[in-house]
């Protein structure tokens, strides 16, 4: 299957990148001891590359799980934007518009459910976390 070949090629490239660039750059060289800091990461990178090669050469026959990539990317983008806004303005201010955007994108148009999601859920979280558990919200 093409999807297996694509996944295999990705693993092959990832393994190669790890072995040749990332591990030498991000792991200190130590010349003593039985298991040096680079030993395990290098072995695993090699194993990843080998698995990738096997997938490229002998792909499976099962089709990939169906996924709506554009919509998933849209949701992921929304969550990342939400995280950036939370780090700047705080959860309590960002959660209601974020919930509204997520529910609207999911096709929800009934005002009662939109109100429950945008006001009820953040209020319940605030009550449980900030008031009952006495922990700070992000």
């Amino acid at each position: 299957m093409l999807s297996d070949r694509l996944a295999g090629a990705f693993l092959l490239i990832l393994g190669g990148l790890l072995l040749l660039i990332i591990i030498p750059w991000q792991v200190e060289t130590v010349d003593y001891g039985w298991l040096r800091p680079r030993t395990m990461p290098s072995l695993l990178a090699g194993l990843l590359a080998l698995c990738g090669l096997l997938l490229v050469l002998r792909p499976g026959t099962e089709p990939p799980r169906s996924a709506n990539w554009p919509r998933a990317a849209l949701y992921a983008g929304l969550l990342i934007a939400g995280l950036a806004l939370i780090s700047r303005y705080g959860f309590l201010w960002v959660a209601p518009p974020l919930a509204l955007a997520l529910m609207w994108l999911a096709g929800e148009r009934r005002w009662i459910w939109l109100a429950a999601g945008t006001m009820g859920t953040p209020a319940m979280i605030w009550l449980c976390v900030a008031i009952l558990l006495e922990r700070p919200l992000p």
Partner: protein, 495 residues
């Protein structure tokens, strides 16, 4: 190993009002969330872990056990009412539960699922309580070489049995182990793969990785496919005769052999890492059908079909805790999540657990039995209420779950940085799942990674770098040799 005073003190702790309260709360949350199609006990446990942060260890772990057990009962509701299993392991329940509900007996079907689930769960808990302490004594005699062999064996079994193919299974395990390499190297204490982020000195936060890969990636997948509100296809009639609303003692007793067989299958499979409750449920269903004198009625609303499936899938949970408590090796994602809760509360799982935290462990055993009783009580009262849950729109449920994950990870994994890690692993989990790589193998490998590296380092030191010295460790050597042999055998059997 443990004196009776410790055991009694532990069981007494389980009956403290605060523990009872949290176990009850866990069961209610679990049944509620389990009834939502697509959420299920694993995701519910993942979301709930950070909220146990401020609780006493036994109350927190008891709450999670309640969520997990409640989720198994709740998972049967959408399977029976909508033919849409809340969890994959409830798919076998739908085969007879849905036809029975369509015959106008939805409450009878959900109650049979409840009784069977509690029966199977109690059976496996009794096995867990009986065998785990002696197994822990055995485990204490194991050194680093034996632990290394055992982990290799666990990886081999998990990679061979889970996921689409063994190559993908090994790749998922290698990715999980690679993620576990982030942080400080155990032998030289030198930081590695941290990309200048000092928050990563202690490694990637387990709660953020687990919630990202298990919960957020699944929520993303479901949200991206949600277009309309979910509606129950079977409604509960207002006025039903009592025999159609409840399961009589005679009907329950007639299923006793099916229940026992299902519980034994679930417990046996649950004790082995990686097999899981879905396989147990289908195996039990198939065996019940095979021995039945009325095979033709299976798939048309036979109570034995529901009993077989639910007893087996629920008995997996207790048995999953056997390798977790005795060896520190999680047999499933639920067990890995409960282990992470142990670690959040400063408790290190493994063979020393019984020696160092005996009171807590027997408290946990007590909480598990209490959770079973509460599951029964809450289920009796709550079934009619949970049935309404399946009609709540996915857009609301999934969005609320997302917000809970944001807050939960922030509590457990150090604020906004933890949420960032969670989102990164959610994307990885989404891609991995779409391409057929098991995120379950990834999480188990990620969890076992640091221990695997330490055991390997200690083993190399013990062997003085000479592989021939393995001959002095026959048990460890046998497991190291058995790992690839077993993997090949399992793959051939699967093929």
């Amino acid at each position: 190993m443990l004196d009776s005073a410790t055991i009694l003190a532990g069981l007494g702790d389980a009956f403290q009002p605060i523990t009872l309260f949290y176990v009850l709360a866990g069961v209610i949350v679990g049944q509620f969330v389990g009834a939502v199609p697509g959420i299920g006990p694993v995701m519910a446990t993942a979301i709930a872990i950070p909220f146990t942060f401020g609780m006493d260890p036994l109350a927190g772990i008891g709450f999670l056990v309640g969520v997990n057990k409640g989720g198994l009962v709740g998972g049967a509701i959408p399977a029976i009412l909508m033919n849409t299993p809340g969890t994959p392991d409830a798919a076998a329940t739908a085969m007879d539960g849905y036809p029975l509900a369509k015959q106008g007996k939805p409450l009878k079907a959900t109650k049979m699922a409840l009784y069977s689930s509690v029966t199977g769960d109690t059976f496996s808990d009794i096995v867990l309580i009986t065998v785990s302490a002696p197994l822990a004594i055995l485990a204490l005699r194991m050194g680093p070489v034996e632990v290394l062999g055992l982990m290799l064996l666990a990886f081999a079994v998990i990679a061979a049995l889970m996921g689409a193919s063994i190559v993908k299974g090994i790749a998922a395990a290698a990715l999980g182990l690679m993620a576990a390499m982030v942080g400080t190297d155990p032998e030289h204490a030198s930081p590695r793969l941290f990309f200048g982020q000092f928050e990563l000195y202690d490694g990637l936060p387990l709660a953020a990785v687990a919630i990202g890969m298990l919960a957020i990636s699944e929520l993303l997948s479901r949200l991206s496919q949600t277009r309309a509100a979910v509606r129950a296809t079977v409604q509960i009639p207002a006025n039903q005769p009592p025999k159609d609303r409840r399961v009589s003692w005679a009907e329950y007793w007639a299923c006793r052999f099916t229940l026992f067989r299902g519980a034994v299958i679930g417990t046996a499979l649950g004790a082995l890492p990686g097999i899981g409750s879905t396989a147990a449920a289908f195996m039990s269903y198939a065996s019940a059908k095979q021995v039945s004198k009325d095979r033709a009625s299976f798939g048309k609303g036979n109570l034995h079909g529901i009993a077989a499936s639910e007893a087996a899938n629920s008995s997996v949970m207790g048995a999953n805790m056997i390798p977790m408590l005795t060896l520190g090796i999680p047999g499933s994602v639920s067990a890995a999540l409960i282990i992470s809760a142990f670690m959040i509360h400063g408790v290190q799982p493994g063979p020393f657990l019984f020696e160092n935290q005996g009171r807590l462990i027997y408290g946990l055993f007590g909480a598990m039995i209490i959770a079973n009783a509460m599951n029964m009580l809450v289920g009796q009262v709550g079934m009619r209420v949970w049935v309404r849950v399946v009609t709540a729109p996915e857009s609301f449920i999934l969005t609320s779950a997302l917000l809970l994950c944001f807050v939960g990870v922030s509590l457990a994994a150090g604020g906004v940085f933890g949420i960032g890690v969670m989102l990164a692993f959610a994307l990885l989990g989404f891609v991995m799942t779409t391409f057929g790589f098991s995120v379950v193998i990834f999480i188990i490998a990620f969890f076992l990674g640091p221990r695997f590296e330490i055991s390997l380092s200690q083993s190399l030191a013990l062997l003085n770098g000479d592989p021939m010295a393995l001959i002095n460790y026959p048990f460890g050597l046998a497991m190291i040799v058995a790992a690839p042999v077993l993997a090949v055998w399992l793959v051939r059997r699967r093929a």
